[in-house]
């Protein structure tokens, strides 16, 4: 069984005010098929964890390790991490002018599989996945994320999740900016991906809303760059009622 393991991770970023410490010793272990929710107030380091795992060059790992089945992820380039089975659904996916969704998906699939997918079954699979996410067919002819609405961008991320079939996926605030219908469609897509591939999920969210549609096995509360509390799904319910106030009283954030 695959395991993604984060150990004592310390991460900083360069800001205009100098080096800023964001993650101050994070430990996490996600097994295949599990769903972990990471919750926490703004600025607690949730997204930093997501982008550090994916390998964004902006984040500097000071110490600690991230391993995927024992292999050190921090030694891998961004694309090697993806080929090892990691996927990040981004909160703000960028536009890639002049690159059509269809070409992009096929290029990504080819890169991950090491060979181009057979055309006919691939097109069928793409069309099927788009239909399930209620995406119009004309989507594949549009340039990646160009002129997409917020909801379309999120669907496009989940479309990739379903088609590229990673072993572990990090969803960075996929729920933000979605209305309830779009949230349901996107959540269904995530659940489908998990059922069909046994995906391990790391769900990063500020709100408990998405947890009504994607049930977490574990909930971790992030405060000031550390996991402040861990528990089962009942912890999310408690946060829904109480908010993050009780974590903030004894930190500088408040």
């Amino acid at each position: 069984m695959s395991v993604l393991s984060v150990k004592d991770l310390h991460v900083s970023v360069e800001t205009e005010q100098g080096t800023k410490q964001i993650l101050k010793g994070v430990d996490l272990e996600i097994k295949q098929g599990e769903t972990h929710a990471i919750m926490g107030p703004n600025g607690s380091g949730k997204s930093t964890l997501a982008y550090t795992i994916a390998g964004h060059p902006k984040y500097h790992v000071e110490s600690g390790s991230i391993t995927l089945d024992g292999a050190e992820v921090l030694d891998m380039s961004i694309d090697e991490r993806a080929r090892a089975g990691l996927f990040l659904a981004m909160q703000y996916p960028v536009e890639i002018p002049g690159v059509k969704v269809a070409d992009f998906l096929r290029t990504a699939k080819t890169a991950l599989a090491g060979e181009a997918p057979a055309l006919r079954p691939w097109i069928k699979e793409v069309n099927g996945a788009m239909k399930a996410l209620r995406m119009d067919k004309t989507f594949s002819d549009r340039n990646v994320n160009e002129g997409f609405s917020g909801g379309e961008k999120k669907r496009n991320e989940i479309l990739q999740l379903e088609l590229l079939k990673p072993r572990f996926a990090i969803l960075d605030e996929t729920d933000s900016g979605l209305d309830v219908d779009a949230l349901k469609i996107v959540s269904e897509g995530v659940n489908r991906a998990q059922e069909s591939t046994g995906l391990g999920l790391l769900l990063i969210t500020h709100y408990t809303r998405i947890l009504r549609y994607i049930t977490p096995d574990f909930v971790h509360v992030f405060v000031d760059g550390r996991v402040a509390e861990e528990g089962g799904p009942e912890l999310a319910d408690r946060l829904e009622n109480e908010g993050y106030d009780r974590f903030l009283t004894d930190t500088s954030v408040a």
């Binding site: 994916a54 390998g55 964004h56 060059p57 380039s77 961004i78 694309d79 991490r81 993806a82 080929r83 996927f87 990040l88 981004m90 996916p93 960028v94 536009e95 890639i96 002018p97 002049g98 690159v99 992009f104 290029t107 990504a108 890169a111 991950l112 340039n143 990739q160 590229l164």
Partner: protein, 395 residues
């Protein structure tokens, strides 16, 4: 009236003149349409390379075209004129010649003085048809060329001129789009590495006529193409596109002038370029002039450059002059930059290698213009040509 004296530290006379105009008793050219014009080579002073018009151009390399007598005889072309379009060599006194404009600089005037016959392309058919003209055997003789394209009233056609091989050529291209006509003109400069090509395009777009004008410059040592487009008839529509890819040691220049003369005209200018390798050099100057009679004008121009390696230089100079307040809109934009790291991150995060991600981003960047060409065969060839250009950097 007192003369302005440059007292401020470092302040000196601008090379374009003007600050000391009252002292010297001259008025510099104030507006783009006021530049002097002549068909005679000798009416333009020898070029020293400091003139506003020439200061970004490697004038040493183009000297024969500026100063020497040029061979103005017809050259070999390959074409397949369909019904509705004629292609012929015509004499200097043909009525179509000198109907679109006159030279504004010395190399252009030199070509005009020296050309013997003009290549005349005339579109009469109302059903859309396409003519392809290719030329590849110009050789290293210093030549003068002249092309005159006439889209007769209500005609509809595409003219593709593709240049390859060696060349040392100064030429003028006249384009007249008559009332209600639709013309798609694409000029592709994919010359050999030693080629030197200077071109001035003079374009008149008539009443309710539509022009799409695309300049693609990929190959050649020095390629300088300056389109001057006049939206002279009411309701004229001009879309001016450009695509260029400069490698090490290449100089690719384009000075675009779009003049909204008549009312209710619409203009779009969009040039995109990529630069790679030591000494790769591009120049884009975009002058848009909205004249006093051009009420209801809708105009936008932009230039984007993508810098792929160290050691390149891209000049991008947009200018917008508006002489009437009654317009729909006018804007300009220019940006020159490296790869967007976030785009590369996004693609790499999907398993795509860095090299492949860069290739995708560049091709995507340029394909916005390729998609405007409006001819599938040529679009496919341009995609292949851009891929070949990229082989150089990304491997």
């Amino acid at each position: 009236m007192t003369v302005v004296t440059p007292e401020q530290h470092g302040l000196k006379a601008h090379s374009d003149g003007g600050w000391d105009a009252s002292e010297k008793g001259f008025v510099p050219v104030q507006t783009r349409s006021a530049r002097p014009r002549s068909f005679e080579h000798t009416d333009f002073a020898p070029v020293n390379g400091l003139e506003a018009e020439w200061k970004l151009t490697p004038v040493k390399l183009i000297k024969p075209l500026l100063d020497d007598a040029l061979d103005g005889a017809p050259y070999a072309i390959d074409t397949d004129a369909p019904e509705g379009i004629s292609v012929e060599w015509v004499a200097r006194d043909d009525a179509r010649i000198a109907s679109a404009g006159a030279p504004e600089e010395r190399a252009s005037a030199n070509a005009w003085t020296n050309f013997e016959q003009a290549l005349a392309i005339t579109i009469t058919g109302e059903e859309h048809s396409t003519v392809r003209i290719s030329r590849s055997e110009l050789g290293n003789t210093a030549r003068a060329g002249h092309i005159v394209i006439t889209a007769r009233a209500h005609s509809n056609g595409t003219v593709l001129v593709e240049s390859s091989g060696s060349a040392l050529l100064s030429e003028n291209v006249e384009v007249v789009v008559e009332e209600g006509a639709t013309l798609n003109f694409v000029s592709v400069q994919d010359w050999a590495d030693d080629a030197i090509h200077l071109a001035s395009h003079f374009v008149q777009v008539g009443r309710s006529a539509t022009l799409k004008h695309t300049i693609v410059s990929l190959g050649g040592k020095v390629v300088r193409v300056n389109p001057s487009v006049h939206l002279s008839g009411e309701g004229a529509d001009g879309e001016l596109y450009g695509l260029y890819f400069a490698d090490a040691g290449q100089h690719l220049e384009q000075r675009v002038y779009l003049h909204h003369e008549a009312a209710q005209t619409r203009g779009r200018v969009n040039y995109k370029g990529a630069l790679q390798g030591a000494g790769a050099r591009t120049v884009w100057v975009g002058d848009v002039l909205i004249g006093p009679h051009a009420a209801g004008t809708d105009s936008y121009e932009q230039n984007r450059n993508l810098v792929l390696t160290e050691g390149t230089r891209a000049d991008s100079i947009p200018n917008l002059e508006i002489e009437t307040g009654d317009i729909q809109g006018a804007g300009h934009a220019s940006a020159t930059g490296r790869f967007d790291d976030e785009q590369l991150f996004y693609l790499q995060a999907r398993g795509i290698s860095e090299a492949e991600a860069r290739r995708l981003v560049v091709i995507g960047f340029l394909s916005e213009i390729v998609q405007k060409v409006g001819d599938e065969q040529l679009e496919a060839r341009l995609h292949t040509a851009i891929e070949a250009e990229l082989e150089g950097t990304i491997s």
